[in-house]
């Protein structure tokens, strides 16, 4: 075999290996998880972010783990097309985030009931209301600094940004009803929850997570969605001005 042929073969093989490595890094490590951009959705120093957390079901969340979804800014929460299966979202710096979480998953007791204390929100409280089904409230709006996940079947997950000292239990819907079976959920019992917090004055990446070990089928619930971006953990990107 001639020298030029050997050189060409070597270069082609090198290029293939390099491309393969880049593909693996881009596809499996970095992933193609979309980021929902709320950084341009703020008005008057306030931005409204809407999430939902869903039970394990056999719909669009693959694998069939419990999962958060992020709504597109200003979209209609009653349409499945409004929801993005991701846990990445961006918000502007030094802005009040009015967070709304639609809790469609049933209750699971937190392993550490400390996480049922609301921390880091404006006023140190959150408000929630349970719905038997869409537009059918089961009771009044509760404003509370704690939501005991052991005494009542009332906590499904948590939303926490530890580096901002933000820890909020996420309420679950009425335990006697059948849960939504198709993600992203737009019908079925849910808990509507609201709280507010301030983003830091400078940009940065802030991980958020659930503190209820909800990885069904994994040892002590620690694996699966707990360890995977796009399910029960994610990142909030704070965009500096």
């Amino acid at each position: 075999v001639s020298v030029p042929a050997r050189v060409v073969t070597l270069l082609v093989a090198f290029a293939l290996v390099t491309l393969g490595a880049v593909y693996v890094v881009a596809h499996f490590v970095v992933g193609n998880l979309p980021t929902v951009d709320y950084s341009h959705a703020a008005s008057g120093g306030v931005v409204n972010v809407v999430l939902q957390e869903d039970p394990q079901n056999d719909s669009s969340s693959r694998p069939d783990w419990v999962s958060y979804f992020v709504m597109k800014p200003g979209a209609n929460p009653g349409l499945q097309s409004s929801w993005v299966h991701t846990t990445l979202f961006s918000v502007p710096a030094n802005t009040r985030v009015n967070m709304t979480i639609l809790g469609y998953d049933g209750c699971t007791p937190p392993r550490n009931n400390f996480w049922t204390q609301v921390q880091g929100t404006m006023g140190g409280v959150m408000a929630f209301q349970q719905f038997k089904d869409t537009n059918k409230p089961m009771g009044p709006v509760h404003v509370t600094p704690t939501l005991n996940g052991w005494a009542h079947c009332a906590v499904g997950h948590t939303f926490a940004i530890p580096s901002l000292h933000l820890f909020v239990p996420v309420a679950s819907p009425d335990a006697s009803a059948s849960l939504c079976s198709s993600s992203p959920c737009v019908a079925g019992p849910f808990a509507l929850q609201k709280f507010s917090f301030m983003t830091p004055p400078h940009g940065g990446e802030f991980r958020w997570q659930c503190f209820v070990p909800c990885g069904g089928g994994y040892v002590d619930g620690n694996g699966g969605p707990m360890q995977t971006l796009g399910y029960m953990t994610g990142q909030m990107t704070v965009v500096g001005s």
């Binding site: 209750c107 005991n148 002590d220 620690n222």
Partner: protein
């Protein structure tokens, strides 16, 4: 003794003396610099008795190691300069004979250094009070006082929380400690293995589920310190850190009492489990059967997920 052997011996003596005279001032200078210049800046600092002890240990090790290192370097440089091959010199080197004095000196010196470090290291590892390391559930080396602040460190994916049994069992994500008071850390975990590493305090203790690992520290300086998990524990292990603060005893009392009152007012103290040295990571015995009755909706049957849960199994939340 032959003429050549006698010449070689006298030559070795001169070389040895030269090497010694070069090495000695360098070693003295290096040790003085280490002790008086570097020592105060060595990690982990002097924020606690334990950190101070570790800093002292590192300084002693450095003072002992520097002359040995310098001797190797000086000998190496001397050999390169003095015993290098000269142009046109094609002769073999002289035959090497053993030198009893050199051998005895080498063996004695290294034995003294190694055995000395063994004794020094062993003593320093356990004095004072475990040197900041986790001593397990029944610590052998404890502070010489009964007046210790109890702090329970609970590791969980991916945050540390702290319980203060002397303040009603209140729990918080913040760690404040009073200066000058002995602190007993009871370190445990609720899920996987973590490691509580309060760097500037010189404290590092594994956090194992179902195990109480005890470590001690006595803060000596005001200021902040870093708490970091030192055991790979999942996707956010790298983000599992926060900062603690050493404050005056008065400020600590104000903070702790205030937090206890707030948690009592909010009902959190009532909702927390009774203080215990460990917590079962798989079962919450405080829960009754109410949760269990709601099969198919809790996703956990009121407890936690069995590791081999299959679709269709009783309790499988996917099942209708």
């Amino acid at each position: 003794m032959s003429h050549s052997a006698a010449a070689g011996a006298s030559g070795d003596t001169r070389h040895g003396l030269r090497i010694f005279l070069i090495w000695l001032p360098l070693a003295i200078i290096a040790d003085l610099l280490i002790w008086f210049v570097w020592y105060p800046h060595l990690p982990p600092g002097r924020m606690s008795d334990q950190a101070q002890g570790q800093q002292f240990d590192i300084a002693v090790m450095a003072v002992l190691a520097a002359p040995v290192l310098l001797f190797v370097w000086v000998y190496f440089a001397y050999a390169l300069v003095v015993w290098r091959r000269r142009p046109g010199d094609d002769e073999d080197g002289p035959p090497i004979h053993s030198n009893t004095r050199v051998q005895a000196t080498w063996i004695t010196a290294t034995a003294v250094i190694v055995l000395g470090l063994f004794v020094f290291g062993t003593v320093q590892l356990i004095v004072p009070a475990g040197a900041g390391a986790g001593e397990g559930p029944s610590p052998t080396w404890v502070p010489n006082t009964n007046n210790t602040l109890q702090v329970q460190v609970i590791g969980q994916q991916w945050a540390f929380t702290y319980r203060f049994p002397q303040f009603g069992g209140m729990e918080t994500t913040q760690l404040l400690l009073p200066m000058g008071e002995e602190v007993r850390f009871n370190v445990t975990s609720l899920d996987v293995i973590h490691s509580f590493w309060a760097y500037q305090l010189g404290v590092k203790a594994d956090a194992n589920p179902g195990v109480n690992n005890v470590a001690f520290a006595k803060p000596q300086q005001l200021g902040s310190f870093t708490v970091r998990c030192n055991e790979l524990c999942g996707i956010w292990h790298g983000a599992m850190f926060n900062y603690g603060r050493v404050v005056t005893p008065a400020a600590f009392q104000v903070w702790a009492r205030g937090l206890q009152l707030r948690e009592a007012r909010d009902g959190l103290l009532r909702d927390l489990p009774p203080y215990a040295l460990t917590y079962d990571p798989t079962v919450i015995p405080q829960l009754g059967k109410d949760i269990v009755k709601v099969a198919g909706i809790t996703g956990a049957n009121g407890y936690y997920y069995p590791s081999q849960l299959q679709s269709g199994d009783p309790g499988d939340p996917v099942s209708p």
